[in-house]
């Protein structure tokens, strides 16, 4: 009948319209993402790259989720599988892999400390790193994670207290970092003067710094137990931050005015009147007592709150950037009006949904990597991190990822005594952590662009990579077995190192190389030091 057909049509049309822009109970987030991204491409008249092949996807998502390339067996199994939902199953497997928790811990350790944490005490932080990994193993909701770090209770060797240790006696530095890392707000300019074009005034900066003014890093005397010192974060009952006006008017010895704590966009904190008195002397033998009123805890609660205007957007933007290259607002820690998101509706959607899903980062990760937007091919117009995601991003592997990928690609196996669990030296074995961190630890410039540089290649060319390649049962041994057909050896070589079969010309060239007596170890070397290996793309 005419009436019912029209009704059906209308229903169908409205359903189609619904799934393109709105999330409802039936539409997974990934589809909403794809709808919005496609709309943007259309608006900008961009032609996206073709979808990623199985090989491209396998390698990319495995590195992103567990910090390693898949093994040869895993590669073969995935590429040969005919299962229609194999990609989804792969993602599920990787998210439950214990290495995912380590990968997340590494990522967040870099965000919270970087390679060169300020001060001299936070360089060794095995306790914090172990604690962080446990949080991700348990998939602790992100708001709880943030709050725990910012409340910094307990011993630094057990976890969160380590974060503030890098900002010992430097509440201003801590303020810059906390607002940047947890809120995506850049206040550092307002430290010295009212911001030239953003809304922040110096009093905004000092109002935030005031929350940390009473913090004191206390070193506890502990006997034995490893090479890490033990710290606790004490908070005094009294103390204020002094504000002396714009830096250019600064005069040595000028006393400042105390500034009361004030959340951004809010009025001053209501706190009980502080009794006059001198700060207490915290002893070194036991953790100091908690103050009756903790400004630090108030700050932690205000930050890690769905009602905070920046908190949720900052995290979804950061996680988006982790997998897609650029954040929806880029750089990921700059959510200012002068840096608007390229897809505002997407940002809103992600933020809203993360709250609904109670800050479950695993869930968000799953949705992002299963979107079509994530699964595009890397072959594009050359931009490493495309602004509108019309091809996949190319990012350098971290030093830790590189060491693990080299081990898996070469088929290296440990033998002999193992180093202390979690020690950096184990992460980079058989290579030395000192050189690895020095040459591969910070491959980008301060603006976040990849540079690499001479030292990387000198190390790869003349350094100890030979200790990773070679040995019993290694890939090099297999590739060098002259009794096996050369095409099989080349195929295995590519599948194990680059997780894809070789092209015809690659097979031809490398076969010729092996047949002319080229050492197999050098063939493995050539592949694992190539650009295709060094990046995730």
């Amino acid at each position: 009948m005419f009436g019912s057909r029209t009704l059906l049509l209308t229903l169908v049309l409205s359903l189609v319209a619904g799934s393109a822009g709105r999330l409802d109970a039936q539409t997974p987030l990934r589809e909403v993402i794809d709808g919005q991204v496609r709309a943007k491409w259309a608006a900008e008249k961009l032609t996206p790259a073709k979808p990623a092949t199985d090989a491209e996807f396998l390698r990319r998502v495995t590195i992103d989720l567990v910090g390693s390339i898949p093994s040869y067996e895993e590669t073969i199994a995935f590429l040969e599988s005919k299962e229609p939902t194999k990609r989804e199953k792969l993602v599920d497997r990787l998210l439950e892999d214990p290495r995912h928790a380590q990968q997340q811990a590494d990522t967040w350790d870099m965000i919270l400390f970087g390679r060169f944490p300020p001060g001299n005490d936070a360089d060794k932080r095995l306790g914090f790193q172990a604690w962080l990994r446990t949080q991700f193993e348990k998939n602790v909701p992100y708001d709880e994670l943030a709050r725990t770090i910012l409340k910094a209770e307990g011993l630094s060797t057990d976890g969160p207290a380590m974060y503030y240790v890098q900002y010992k006696n430097a509440p201003e530095d801590a303020t810059e970092s906390i607002t940047q890392q947890f809120l995506g707000v850049q206040l550092q300019c307002a430290r010295c003067h009212d911001h030239p074009f953003e809304e922040w005034k110096q009093l905004d900066f000092y109002g935030m710094a005031a929350f940390l003014a009473r913090l004191e890093v206390v070193t506890l005397n502990r006997k034995g137990s490893g090479t890490e010192s033990t710290f606790v974060i004490g908070e005094q009952e009294v103390g204020d931050i002094q504000f002396t006006g714009p830096a250019k008017d600064a005069v040595a010895g000028k006393k400042g005015e105390p500034v009361k704590p004030k959340f951004l966009h809010a009025t001053a904190l209501v706190e009980p009147a502080a009794k006059d008195g001198k700060p207490a002397k915290f002893s070194n033998t036991a953790p100091p007592p908690k103050p009756k009123f903790s400004r630090k805890d108030r700050l932690a609660e205000w930050i890690a709150d769905p009602k905070n205007p920046y908190f949720t957007k900052a995290i979804v933007n950061r996680v988006w950037g982790q997998f897609m290259g650029k954040g929806i607002s880029h750089p990921v820690d700059n959510l200012s009006p002068s840096n608007p998101p390229v897809m505002p509706e997407l940002m809103e959607t992600l933020a809203k949904e993360l709250i609904v899903h109670k800050y479950d980062l695993k869930w968000l990760t799953r949705e992002i990597v299963l979107s079509q937007a994530y699964q595009l091919s890397g072959a594009g117009d050359g931009e490493a991190m495309p602004r509108l995601y019309h091809h996949s991003r190319t990012r350098p592997l971290s030093a830790e990822e590189l060491a693990e990928c080299w081990r898996v690609a070469s088929g290296w196996t440990p033998s002999g005594a193992t180093a202390a669990k979690g020690a950096k030296s184990e992460r980079f074995r058989p290579l030395e952590s000192g050189y690895m961190l020095r040459f591969f630890g910070t491959p980008n410039s301060g603006a976040g662009d990849f540079q690499g540089g001479l030292q990387e290649h000198l190390y790869m060319n003349n350094g100890p990579l030979g200790s990773v390649i070679g040995g019993k049962g290694s890939l090099s041994e297999f590739v060098g077995t002259a009794s096996k057909p050369v095409e099989d050896r080349v195929r295995r070589l590519y599948l194990q190192t680059l997780n894809r079969p070789p092209t015809a010309i690659e097979t031809e060239k490398v076969s010729a190389y092996l047949k002319s007596g080229g050492p197999a170890a050098d063939a493995v070397w050539a592949l694992i030091t190539s650009a295709e290996f060094r990046f995730n793309h």
Binding site: Q186, L454, I505, W525, A526
Partner: protein, 437 residues
Amino acid sequence: MDQPDARARAGDRGNTMPPICNPTAHLSRRALMKGTLAAAGGVVMNWGGLTGTALGEEAKKERKHCILLWMNGGASQFETFDMKPGRPTGGPYRPISTNVNGIQICELMPKMAKQMDKVAVIRSMRTSQVDHPGGIYLMHTGYQPRGNIRYPEMGAVVAKYQGLGDSDLPNFVKISSNGDAGAGFLGPKYQPFGIGAEGGLPPFSTSQKPELDEKRRNDLRSFVDSQFVETSRSEVAKMHRESYEAARRLQKARQAFNIDAEWAKSKDLYGDSEFGRRCLMARRLVETGVAFVEVGQSSYDSHADNASWHRGLVPPMEHAWAGLLEDLKQRGLLDTTLVVWTGEIGRTPTINNRAGRDHYVRCWSTALAGCGIKGGQTYGESDENGAEVKTNPVTEGDFFATVYSALGINPKKENYAGIRPVPLANFGSNPVKELLD
């Protein structure tokens, strides 16, 4: 770009690297076009960046170079450039006259006394980091150490703005010196290439493999990379490949660091000391196009026996410095090479009970010569005891602004640390106009 034909011809000749005597003969355009500068191994040496196609452009633009003479530990201004004869702070050394009327320097520097027409001395340095780590950072970067920002060293800045993109040698070389700020937020491309105290190359700079094996595996790797670059066309893949090519060029160019043959001829000019050798290496590297070379001497930290320490350290230093200036002048390089002399701190006017001088930053001396600098002058004065700056104080920011300006680099240019723009020389600092040509 590369010129395969020229390479092949040069390789056939089997030339070893010619001795560098006279730039006009060896660096002439014609000589290059003929490939007469080819080194063993068939790679055309990239002398000062005068490659085939870029020839005309490069010949026109004169790149600037910088040599930083780093007096680690803090040389005493009272035993070098700011003599206070007859004052209780003057110490036992006496001043001598120089080839500039009215300028006197320490008797320990008779050779530099004949070079003072080239040198501008700042006697009014006034900085704020009095300990070694802070002072070393300050006088390498021009900035106070700051928790959240990693400022780059002078060498990284000069490498970025005056370095040659595809040169055979790294653009920032550090010979036996201190300072670990490195390239900071400018990125790993500008990290220093560190030569050891006795001229040793840094770890991993030399291949362990026979030449043929190297070539074979390098060819294979280049092939692998070319496939990926073609398919992905990613800019970072290209960067990866370019850095790799640079590392390969370095393998062939590293004989530039071997100065034994030249040392035999230059020993008298530079003085028979390790510092003399390092300065010779610096001259040679600058001549081959390296933008920035830092040469260190250690250690001037004379908390005890200050007079003896300086008698040990200053004569070989000044001999080499004078030799360097003379050598650069004769080779026509002084106009395009800035020679900076500084340490991290100065030393106290008061002599302590160990006959030493301690750290002091309220008033101390540095010196500049060469490219962009008006020599033959002193800038700024200290008071009669050398305790405070009397006129024209110069901060570390001003010092760096002056150095960059002399090298034709605008000190207000900005780079990014995160989203934060950071000028090369600190906000509020200014180049000292009187020092600039």
